[in-house]
C-alpha cells in the first residue's frame, strides 16, 4: 500500500505530513489499537469470533464503542488539546455509527490502524471524509505514573 493510495482514499491526508508507522497486519484493528491492544481484533458482532469487552453493547453505535473504551478506563472529554497527564482517543463515525478510532500520541498528533492495513501517524481531522465520517466523540484516560 503506497502513500498515494492512502491519499486517494483519505483526501485530507494530502495536506498532512502523515507517515506510515507499521506494516499492514490482520492481527489487530483500529479499536484495539486505540485501546493500546495490538494483539486482538476487536469487533462487537455476536459472531463468536472476535474480542469485545464484556458488558459493552454488541453493536457499532458510538455509544457501544464508548462503553467498550470505558471498560479500559477511558471517560468522555470535550476538547482534543494535548494534556500531558492524559491519553486521548477519538471516535469517528456517521449517523450515530462508529467507523474508526484513533489515539493521541505524546506529540499531540494521532495514531491510527487503518482496518487490515497499516498504522499511520496523522492529524486528527486528516482521516475525516467518506470512509470514516467525522470525529464524533472524544475520550481520555489518565496516564499511569511509573
Amino acid at each position: 500500500m503506497t502513500e498515494d493510495w492512502l491519499k486517494r482514499r483519505f483526501p485530507r491526508l494530502a495536506d498532512d505530513d502523515f507517515r506510515v508507522t507499521s506494516r499492514a497486519t490482520t492481527v489487530y484493528n483500529c479499536v484495539g489499537w486505540a485501546a493500546e491492544d495490538d494483539r486482538n481484533w476487536w469487533s462487537p458482532e455476536d459472531f463468536e469470533l472476535y474480542y469485545w469487552p464484556e458488558g459493552a453493547p454488541r453493536d457499532w453505535s458510538v455509544d457501544a464503542w464508548a462503553a467498550a473504551f470505558a471498560t479500559v478506563g477511558f471517560e468522555p472529554c470535550d476538547g482534543a488539546e494535548l494534556e500531558p497527564e492524559y491519553v486521548r482517543i477519538a471516535i469517528y463515525g456517521r449517523a450515530g455509527n462508529a467507523l474508526h478510532a484513533a489515539r493521541q500520541l505524546p506529540s499531540g498528533r494521532w495514531t491510527s490502524k487503518l482496518g487490515k492495513g497499516v498504522d499511520i501517524e496523522h492529524e486528527l481531522h486528516s482521516l475525516t471524509g467518506d470512509t470514516y465520517g467525522e470525529v464524533v466523540h472524544l475520550m481520555r484516560r489518565r496516564i499511569a505514573l511509573s
Binding site: M1, T26, E48, L114, G115, Y132
Partner: protein, 147 residues
C-alpha cells in the same frame, strides 16, 4: 476413485465431508467437463487439488474483497461484502483454498470457513487472537486432509 457432485443435490454429500478425517476418504475433487450441447448445470467440486476454474474464481473474488474492505474494521463489513459472500457460495470446494490462503496471510476467512463447514475449532478464550485462530483452522485443515 473420486466422486463428482452436481450442485442442487450436493447438500446430502455436503454433510461435512470432513466428518471422518482420513486421507483415504473418497473426497470429490474435479468438476466434470461438459460436452457440446450439454446443459450447463453448475457443478461443485472439492478436495485437495481444486479445479483451475475454481482457483481463478477464488483469486479474483479474494482480490476484490481485499481491495474494497482494506480499511474496514467491522467484521460485519468484511463478511457481508459481496465478494466474500460469493466465496461462501462456492461451497465446500473452496475450503482448501481458504485454508491455504489463511495459512499464508492470516486474513479473515474465519466466518467463511465456519459458514461452509459448520465447524469452529477456535476456543472461546482465543477469540480475537487472529494468528492463533488461523493456526487452529490450519490444524483443523491438516487433520482433515485439506492442507
Amino acid at each position: 476413485m473420486r466422486k463428482e457432485v452436481k450442485a442442487g443435490n450436493h447438500h446430502a454429500s455436503r454433510a461435512r465431508p470432513w466428518g471422518k478425517p482420513s486421507r483415504n476418504s473418497p473426497i470429490p475433487t474435479a468438476a466434470p467437463r461438459l460436452r457440446a450441447g450439454e446443459a450447463s448445470a453448475p457443478v461443485v467440486s472439492w478436495g485437495p487439488v481444486p479445479a483451475p476454474e475454481l482457483q481463478a474464481r477464488f483469486e479474483d473474488l479474494s482480490r476484490r474483497w481485499r481491495e474494497e474492505t482494506e480499511f474496514h474494521s467491522a467484521a460485519s463489513a468484511l463478511f457481508m461484502h459481496r465478494a466474500y459472500q460469493e466465496i461462501i457460495g462456492l461451497g465446500p470446494a473452496v475450503v482448501p483454498l481458504l485454508l491455504a490462503d489463511l495459512e499464508k496471510t492470516h486474513d479473515h476467512w474465519f466466518w467463511a470457513l465456519r459458514a461452509i463447514t459448520g465447524e469452529n475449532p477456535v476456543p472461546a478464550e482465543e477469540r480475537g487472537k487472529v494468528e492463533r485462530m488461523a493456526e487452529r483452522w490450519v490444524d483443523w485443515g491438516r487433520a482433515h486432509g485439506l492442507l
